[in-house]
Amino acid sequence: MALSLPAPAAREVVDQLAAIVGPEQVSVAPIDRLTYARDMYTVAIIKHAEGKLEHFPHVIVWPANEDELIRVVKLAPDLGLPVIPFGAGSGVCGGTLPIHGGIMLDVKRLGRIVEINDDDLTVTAQAGINGQVLEMELNRHGYTLGHFPSSIHCSTLGGWVAARSAGQLSSKYGKIEDMLIALRWVCPDGRVYSSPIVPGRSTGPDFDQILTGSEGTLGVCTEATLRICPYPADRRFVAFTFPDVPTATEAMRMMLRNDLRPAAMRLYDALDTMLVGTSGSTEHTQGKSLGDLLQIEQIGNRVRTLAPDLFRKAQRFVAGNAQIANQLELLAKEGCMLILMFEGERELTDYEFEAAVMICERLGGTNKGPKPAIRWFENRHHVSYKMSKVYYNGAFVDTIEVATTWTRLIDLYDAVCAALKPHAFLMAHFSHAYPDGCSIYFTFVTSAADADEAATKHAFIWSLAMKAAGGVGATLSHHHGIGLSKAQYMRDEHGDMMRVYRDIKTVMDDAHRFNPGKMGL
């Protein structure tokens, strides 16, 4: 049963696009239409794998520069096709799915670093630059951006801006929107928006912050100027275990409240801590890491050691039997693990490190030394590899990243756990902590017979999670964005403010040409 793709863009369309970008940089080939048909949205991955994707772009273009990109954007209305800006396709919310077909506007050839300014500690780079390439270039010149999403290897600057990305060191460096100094942006009508590179201004609403997070619905980012930092001179690591989540989050809160800004601050709940062996106390963690958190075989091994009887029950597939899997928590004796890393100038790092240790110990934390934290740091991108293993094992996985204030944090944790645990194997960690609140990153694993069942189950679990999170007033996404998968919840999140979004959409893209069908517009 070979896939049948709908008709591609007509020959005239291709010719017109080719006149702009050159024939080599336009494609209607099935291999391209297939590779641009999905991002990392769980349901799309499963459908793709089963050859069941329904939507494909009509045509893909790869402009070489902003000028070509503008001409493509200006041509789109004549062609009558939607335009979908595309970076690296690592989004997990279906944000780039061409649900109405259209022109995939791949910006990766706009991949240059324009300037690294030493005096101003800024970098200006084109939107298509790969995150890791950007960071490595900065490192080479003695700087860091401090932005380390686990997708850093496979995402672009433009994608970060489009979806309000967060890195693992956000407690110190902030999210991408906090780093943003200025943007260049091609509007849906082809005009170029460009904001001034100044340290601050009182010149009306900051349109940068309106475009940031618009996920392709208001046009396409072509360049951004971000603040950078000198590469940290020093790093200090430490890990603590706490008897329970509330005690541990209290320690996090107290550190941030007292002006400590750990680069990394991650708390794993009891189940998460046990499964990933963060404590380093058992042999199986040798050379492994938190990155293995979704490795099913490992869950099996761990369970086998701890409870042979339970292992038999769970043998078929742990994640497929949510209640059984979640009972593992009863076995979690190690409590929950808090990972801390400080970086920057030596004297300041030393101070922060000592102050943090004092706070954690005062609040009943057990000092586990630097090892678990170092191991996390060294393997910090590995989590992104783990999805493959889960899918390979016939299951599927997704993550839910919600955020709220400290005051409501435990309510949020309890609410989502209560809602989801009957239906999926669920773990959580608390990363991206700020003085005013924190995000919770839930990972759920479950299985389904086929793509259709998976889609239904996936949607059901999400609806429970969103209802639970919304019920305690949490924001429904901290850094993954909205895209297609959460579009239906935009109204819950924003209420009448969606009118303002629609007004801006009307002003910039009345015809809904850019990334139609997304963001609940």
């Binding site: 005096d119 101003d120 500690l121 979806a163 990305s165 999210k175 005009r191 170029v192 001034p196 590179i197 100044v198 340290p199 601050g200 201004r201 009182s202 010149t203 009306g204 609403p205 900051d206 349109f207 912050q209 309106i210 997070g213 603040r227 809160r253 002006d259 100038e345 004297e347 300041l348 102050a355 955020a403 709220t404 204030t405 400290w406 005051t407 991206h432 700020y434 005013d436 609140g437 924190c438 995000s439 949490a474 924001t475 429904l476 996404s477 850094h479 993954h480 964005g481 909205i482 959460k486 999140e493 924003h494 209420g495 009448d496 403010m497 979004y501 007004d503 009307t506 002003v507 910039m508």
Partner: protein
């Protein structure tokens, strides 16, 4: 105002919260804009609002705007009336909506260090409430005592301790606003979000053109346990700028970094015994004892490596204790016929700052005129420059002179890569420069305004937006 209209307003606010007496109308037609202050010496010909209303709830604001939209009545939102950029200057026939009765702190989340307050609360009152629970907002603009939270938000204001605490827009977590058609909108109180555009930023800096901000939740910090002061004198002006930059680069976050040139130094420390002179850098560190001391010692090392002499902490302490003094400065000057004084602020990245400052000095220098300036609000990217221009002209010429000063300043700022306004908002005389600075961004703001406010009722004329599309 017609009796019918008044009745409609009274239905919303009750008779005692609608005023249209000549005195009230006159008082609400003024703010602290230098150009209008000097003009007023010679002419009483001003646009007066029809009435002033004082809402007490968001629902009243909503009803007001719905009413205004239906009748296409201009509405000017009014906080402390301390704008230096004519942000609340009403047009004839407008209703002034004075927010100062909406001044409650509606929620104090000590645990998350978030305060939620209504927009009409004065800066000082808000800070007082926070002080009671051991918190601080850290937002101390010069007009702190007389301005409101709503005003801070509507202009994207920055205080003198913004290096540590950030400008106001960084403190905002969520807000509530009323759109011109009366609908009430709000954003979610979460530390960060990735649920589309940040709609707070539609309203932050909008100067009353897109609706009325009625409430906001703000990030606070712990009230500092300690404060450390230091001051340094630099023989060479640029060495001091370099020292500031290097401190920021090192990751230090002094609460205040303020570097004044000789005339500004003289003004700042005029009332101090043994006042310092020359180029003086004032540093204030606050927070935890050890951290503040540590940062101060690193800062000292950097300062000394940039060729300066240590002044001891008295000067810094003096500045800190009198940090709102510059807001008082103008009155004695402006009281005198023919005298003028204007405060011009901009900001630029470090690489552009020294040249920008030098060319501003050149451009603004003039006979019988004193130009002084200080650099502050430093971040790793750059800093602000605040210039004070003071002088005398024959009576009646003040306005013309100020216009000329602004023209020179704005074109120099534009050429030097500075922003047209760092923290005061935009006055009518800055609009051309604003258009240049924002380019397409200006058109987008204008189009957004027309879409959200199709009847053009919100603060007509601000940013140069037309009354209607």
């Amino acid at each position: 105002m017609t009796a019918a209209r008044r009745r409609e307003l009274e239905e919303i606010f009750g008779a005692d919260r609608v005023e249209d007496t000549p005195i009230t109308r006159r008082l609400y037609s003024q703010d602290l804009t230098a150009l209008s202050l000097v003009d007023r010496r010679h002419s009483a010909d001003e646009a007066l609002p029809d009435a002033v209303v004082w809402p007490e709830t968001v629902h009243e604001v909503s009803r007001l705007l719905r009413w205004a939209s239906e009748g296409k009545v201009p509405v000017v939102t009014y906080g402390g009336g301390t704008s230096l950029r004519a942000a609340t200057m009403p047009s004839t026939g407008a209703i002034v909506c004075d927010m100062k009765r909406m001044k409650r702190v509606t929620r104090m989340d000590e645990n998350s260090m978030i305060v939620t307050a209504e927009a009409g609360i004065l800066g000082e009152a808000l800070q007082h409430e926070l002080r009671l629970v051991g918190l601080t907002l850290g937002h101390f603009p010069p007009a702190f005592y007389g301005s409101t939270l709503g005003g801070f938000l509507a202009t994207r204001s920055a205080g003198s301790l913004s290096t540590r605490y950030g400008p106001i827009e960084d403190m905002v977590i969520s807000l509530q606003a009323v759109l011109p058609d009366g609908s009430i909108v709000k954003t979610r109180t979460a530390p960060r979000s990735a649920t589309g555009p940040d709609f707070n930023h539609v309203f932050l800096g909008s100067q009353g053109t897109l609706g009325i901000i009625t409430r906001a939740s703000l990030r606070c910090r712990m009230a500092p346990a300690t404060r450390t002061f230091a001051a340094y004198k630099f023989a060479d002006w640029n060495d001091g700028v370099t020292a500031m930059r290097l401190m920021m680069r090192k990751g230090l976050l002094p609460a205040a970094v303020r570097y004044s040139d000789p005339p500004e130094t003289a003004r700042t420390f005029a009332r101090m015994e043994d006042e310092p002179d020359g180029n003086v850098l004032v540093l204030v560190f606050e927070g935890h004892d050890r951290r503040a001391l540590l940062e101060a010692s690193i800062a000292a090392e950097i300062a000394l490596s940039c060729h300066c002499t240590q002044l001891g902490e008295e000067a810094a302490r003096h500045w800190f204790d009198h940090r709102f003094a510059e807001a008082y400065r103008r009155s004695p000057v402006l009281a005198e016929d023919g005298a003028y004084m204007e405060v011009i602020d901009t900001a630029a990245t470090w690489s552009r700052l020294p040249t920008l400052i030098a060319s501003l000095r050149d451009a603004l220098a003039g006979e019988g005129r004193q130009v002084s300036l200080y650099v502050a609000n430093a971040s790793s990217v750059g800093a602000s420059v605040c210039l004070t221009v003071q002088g005398h002209t024959p009576a009646g010429e003040e306005g013309k002179t100020l216009q000329a000063i602004w023209t020179a300043a704005l074109s120099t700022i534009r050429q030097g890569g500075g922003t047209v306004s760092y923290r005061q908002g935009i006055g009518p005389w800055q609009i051309d420069a604003l258009k240049e600075e924002l380019g397409v961004g200006y058109d987008l703001l204008r189009d957004m305004k027309r879409q959200i406010d199709p009847n053009g009722i919100m603060n007509p004329g601000a940013f140069g937006f037309d009354r209607t599309s």
